[in-house]
Amino acid sequence: MIEQPFWNPILETLPREKIRQLQLRKFKQIFKWAYNHSKFHKLLYVNAGIKPEDIRSFDDIRKIPTVEKSMMRDIQGKEPFPYGDALCVPLEEVTVFRQTSGTTGQPVYQPDTWQDWEWWMECWSTILWAQGYRPMDKVFIPFGYNIFVAFWAGHYAAEKIGCEVIPGGVLDTKARILKIQELRATAMMGTPTYILGMAETARMKMNLDPAHLTINKITCAGECGASIPSTKRRLEDAWGAKVYDHAGATEIGAWSFECLEQPGGMHVNEALFLVEIADMETGEIIEEPGRQGRMIITALDRQAQPCVRFDSKDVIEWSKEACPCGRTSRLIKGGVVGRADDITKVKGVLLAPSAIEEVVRAVDGLGDEYEVIVDKVGDADRIQLKVEVLPEAQNRCRLIEATLSDQLRLKTNLRYDIEICGCETLPRYEVKAKRFKDLRKKEK
């Protein structure tokens, strides 16, 4: 029998016009569901003068107001407690609580029914199958199973696929590495920051080369890193494994993934999500490739707390290329490029933190960690960049600094005050890293 590359060979290869028909039909259903079951959504739509029967085309969808995270924060804590009136099912049908990580403010609560949880697993099953996970895999999950959704659904999806799943819960980093070695795990999931940190621990503190372990594929999430070519290269070199990106969020679902082809972008799972890209300034919906904008997303099947035209603030752009893997879903070029919140003007120039990471991780002799601090000296913006030099490159500090400075100017059109630090002096992170600090906001 020929190996089946698709989790759902029908949905994943649907002709484009069929995908669009499916999306429109499912959007109408989820909009009607939210309108009829959530007071929050109904009020939003009544105020905009939109009823379910008004939705006949994608142009009609664009007239529907978006939902922002701040709106979800405002309703939570109210009745039905603690979710507020966006809840579409009786409280007794909620089986799972999760909350957002709070990276951008007060965490948002997320209720899910068992059906929603099955749906989460379905999203992740599509991802893992596309990345080559099969029943023979032993999947190690170095994640502190907690209130964040993170890799919970990845865990259950791997089980559903038939993999053997090893939960690396409360173990420390060294114990996790030893468990991978002991059980000969073949796959792993984590944030790029933590996966790089594990490799560093193995090398520096255990005298062990992670590339000699049995991990052959790693699924990353939570940060842009695995789609940044230089970071991906570092991850793959460190572990001797293929590294695949995926994007998801607590209030959205796991909506995008890189496939085995690693096509320089991620597939949008368009059977389960409707992704729109809105121009950052005008809000106009961008259809053509090559223009970055903010993602507006709808989870087409999520029940308890629907996600309808949610303004995720993820910055993405459509790719003009189709993927050679045969999936007909659209690709977003280079994955999630950043967050609209993080892209900031420095010295009048738009700066995305991911652009700095791409340069730092491409410079030979630098460690994986870095820190960026933007502040003001008098009226002028200043960018300080702290990097670590590896022990074997200590005698090349000047050359490294010059290379870094040149590459940064080329890539970001900005000048940086570079501080070369010793190895292991910058903060380490277990989950999502906070390497970019804009102190100008606090100074105002």
Binding site: I2, Q4, P5, F6, N8, P9, I10, L11, T13, L14, K18, Q21, L22, R25, K26, T113, W114, Q115, W117, E118, W119, E122, A271, L272, D301, G326
Partner: protein, 62 residues
């Protein structure tokens, strides 16, 4: 590389499964070991509908 699948057949079995699950659920009042398992089974059936019935409905319209 789409396999030759009889979507109509598959979908009709999914619908049969759904009807059976709904009937079982109604029979199981005050029988937690039945009803709570049915919640899970019906959630799985919903995933089959997302994977199969929704596409079948699309094709059936042509």
């Amino acid at each position: 590389m789409q396999p030759q699948l009889d979507l109509e057949q598959i979908n009709s079995r999914v619908q049969l499964l759904k009807r059976t699950a709904e009937e079982l659920n109604q029979l199981g009042e005050n029988f937690p070991a039945l009803t709570r398992n049915m919640v899970r089974i019906m959630a799985s059936i919903k995933m089959l509908e997302i994977n199969i019935t929704d596409v079948f409905a699309l094709r059936a319209r042509d």
